[in-house]
Amino acid sequence: MTRSRSAASGVILLAAVVLGCSAAPGAADKKELHVSAAMSLKEAFTDLEAGFEAEHPEVDVVFNFAGSQILAAQIVAGAPADVFASADRAQMERAAGSQRMQPARTFAKNRLVIVTPAGDSSIQGPADLARPGLRLVLAGEAVPVGAYAREALNRVGQRDAALANVVSNEENVRGVIGKVAAGEADAGVVYATDVAGEVAGKLRTVAFAGADDVVPAYEIAALADSPQPALAAAFVDLVAGPAGAAALGKRGFLPP
Amino acid sequence: MTTTAGLVADIAVLRGEFSLELQFALAPGATVAVLGPNGAGKSTLVDALAGLAPLHRGEVVLAGRTLERPAARVRLSPQERGLGVMFQGYCLFEHMSARDNVAYGLRARGVARARARAEAQAWLERLGVGEVGDLRPAALSGGQAQRVALARAMITRPALLLLDEPLAALDVSARAQARRLLAGWLAEAAAICVIVSHDVRDAVALADELLVIERGRLTARGTAAELRARPPTEYVAAVLGEV
């Protein structure tokens, strides 16, 4: 009897552990606000976290940073989230196809730049990306920065030649930065805001001239099925409001 | 006593704590049995002669050809020695037919497959097992496997035949006949035969002369009658007393 009872209690313990792990730690006394945000927003949004939590002490903001296409796919697949910040309209619209999104607002803009490894001065502008034999890394076609880069290359008439030089399609903008900084690629196209912090020293930035009208624009929206709509709306307001503008401006983003 | 045509063996082998040290010479055509208790060094002797265990001192000379002499840095590989060895438990190649087992030595010497197989078949027939040519070793009886192993060792007509416990794997009922047949085949072979055995009956029946090894040393040499008359050790007295 004792043995079977201990086996049974083992099963219960195991079940408790599994369930306990799926309910995030620290949830006992705080509400969690799940924010799915584009990878390029990582530093700016992290800056905003402390202020929001100070204003709402009962809340713990939990970020999920990834390529917007991954986040949109998660939302379409029903993943729980309260707020979605996308790096382009296409992925926001894709997420909205799930009927889970509130109307979106544009809250920031960015700029495309070409990066090369530091010390390489052979690339002067977008036309050089079409040079035969160049090893170019872009984000994938579905990744916002990859879509912007293709559009910009199209604008300067180098799309096909440059795409022939692509050696890898990365799944988010940080993947592109990493490959170029490591010297494994000759050039990449990223957001200006990504050339920051420690990695900036390993990169040289070249302006993406001739595609000024290709302007990356970020959109944010609360999820309609958020269990805490007021908090979700408050976070969206924070990002789109003056505090958000200041934090984003400090990290190099442009006003909408 | 040494004849350049025969075998001169001055052997010193170290295997961990164990050492084998003995000297003997054999005339061409001689058949001797190496007798001794388990662990006396009989199989080490076979390995040393075959080139599978290096001498640490001494020499092995067969028909005027030096097979090994550490002092002169001479050490022929097992391949170069061209001996016939019948291993304890036979060590047949399990994935080959009996015929291909026998043909192996000829194939290794570059003989064409068809000719090697024909000759192997002839050897099997000579040893009375012509019908097993296509069988794998796993399908052979103990007696059949023994003859296949013997044919494999003899097909290259070696100048020295080493047989390690050639009868040990046979059951008692088959043993007396096998002993007689083996003695006949060895007599026909124009080779020096060294037969290792722990069974005194096999040793006496197969060989003219006995070499007795105990704890790595040669303790007696002579015909069965000589050793029985004046046994130099208790072991010799005990085992020859049984016959």
Binding site: M1, T2, R3, S4, A7, A8, G10, V11, G67, Q69, I70, A72, A73, A77, R135, V137, G140, A142, V166, V167, S168, N169, E170, E171, K179, A182, G183, E184, A185 | A50, G51, L52, S77, P78, Q79, R81, G82, L83, G84, V85, F87, G89, C91, F93, E94, H95, M96, Y104, G105, A108, R109, R152, T156
Partner: protein
Amino acid sequence: MSLKPGRPGHAHLAVGLLAGAAVVFFALPLVGLLVRVAPAEVWRQLAAPAVQEALRLSLVVSLCAAGLSLLLGLPLAYALARLPFPGRGLARALVTLPMVLPPVVGGTALLAAFGRRGLLGGPLEHGLGVILPYTTAAAVLAATFVAAPFLVITVEGALRGLDPRREQAAATLGASRLRIVGTVVLPAIRPSLVAGLALCWARALGEFGATITFAGNLQGRTQTMPLAVYEALHDSPDGAVALSLLLLAVSLALLAALRGHFFK
């Protein structure tokens, strides 16, 4: 502990429940794959050019990796099993490492060795003009790095289990070392060799982490099936399921074919 004999029912029940839960845990994801997409849609997805290309590339990369593993792994297994060289234990540990190493770490390490700023990559690029990262060759190297140990370990185990007397018998019969390996050693270890090669190939076919890190992700050049599955997950979930089903079928076929070797 009061152990009452004759009442094993409860213990058996507990074991049965846990075992049943385990079976459900392993089977449910596979069932999920199967019911997710209609069969007709699976066929349509598999006919897509990108999928066909990933399939072709996966076959090329995994077969090349298996071949390279055989070429390098067989002598290595032999050396580990038979040649008492100094540092043999260390060599075995190094070879086994990729089996337990996270593949993405393997990819990073490959970059550190064969990347353009890696130990060998610089000399390769400036001396021979060879740049490995982001090429199909890099995908083959990545797959070989993670898959070859399966072949080496399996074959080494078989070689260790082999009775050296048979090889000695062949030597006394005059066979050269090479002939002995070809006529005695390889036939004797053939079942293990086949099993090791199959495991190696399967691992190469499924390789993801080291490939995406070292070889990147480019359709037709380095985007093998697992990479295609991952990418498709975000823009064509049905395609991802179709590709997954194909990989699942290959794995099942391999398992069925290997049954004889592992459960003889």
